[in-house]
């Protein structure tokens, strides 16, 4: 009877789901930090009128 009242543990689908979500989150953070990510949070003035790079001397060549 005591066994029936014991918590059966986390289901497998939750573990798989959690690992998948964690990998995606890490990927998102890494891409964000390396500047290749989905997010582009520059202010309007930082956008070049044509093309997409910020106005910096290095990109002029």
């Amino acid at each position: 009877m005591a066994d029936l009242e014991r918590y059966p543990g986390t289901p497998r689908w939750v573990k798989v789901f959690g690992i998948f979500a964690l990998v995606l989150l890490l990927l998102f953070v890494v891409l964000h930090l390396t500047g290749r990510g989905l997010g582009d949070h520059r202010r309007p003035g930082e956008y070049a009128p044509s093309g997409d790079g910020p106005r910096s001397p290095e990109r002029g060549h």
Partner: protein, 174 residues
């Protein structure tokens, strides 16, 4: 607190309507984002971003918030609870994630739309941002499909908290 059957059905209807409406709006948004990125006609691309700005502001954001609120009401007012079952918890986290990302990424759409009102968009204008908008819409669609699947299948599995609560109820109501 458990709602009456009539209120529960009303809350569930509102939740399904908001969630499915949100999914449909994101599909339309994705179609416009792809059209805006790939169209060779400047007018088509410009019109797509202007439409996307309106859709995100007046359809997607209100529906996402409605889905979140009605979901909270439906779960807290029924025996499902908010933290008792893993599928409810997963849906909550995914909805919060999707709503937050949405709020964060409304600005790029506004920027491209603003540029489209100022002059004709060329295929190179803000290209990186336009690619990002397509990727965001695709990711949002994936999250919403997972949410819909979880809501329909309701996979088994109680959290430790839910298990404890259920056990307490059995003890108090033999």
């Amino acid at each position: 607190m458990t709602m009456s059957s009539r209120v529960r059905k009303l809350a569930l209807t509102a939740h399904v309507t908001a969630s499915v409406g949100w999914l449909g709006a994101v599909v339309g948004f994705l179609a416009l984002a792809i059209a805006g990125l790939t169209s060779e006609q400047c007018q088509t691309a410009g019109a797509a971003y202007l439409a996307m700005k309106l859709i995100i502001r007046f359809v997607i954001v209100p529906l996402s918030l409605a889905s979140l609120v009605t979901g909270l009401v439906s779960s807290l007012g029924t025996a499902w609870g908010l933290f008792r079952h893993y599928w409810v918890l997963a849906k909550l986290l995914l909805t919060i994630l999707a709503t937050s990302l949405l709020a964060l990424h409304t600005q790029p759409v506004g920027r491209v739309a603003r540029l489209a009102t100022e002059r004709m968009l060329s295929s190179t204008d803000l290209r990186q941002v336009r690619i990002q908008i397509v990727a965001d819409a695709g990711a949002a669609l994936l999250v919403l499909l997972v949410n819909t699947t979880l809501g329909v299948y309701k996979p088994r599995g109680m959290t430790r908290y839910g298990w404890r609560k259920q056990h307490q109820q059995k003890v108090w109501q033999p």
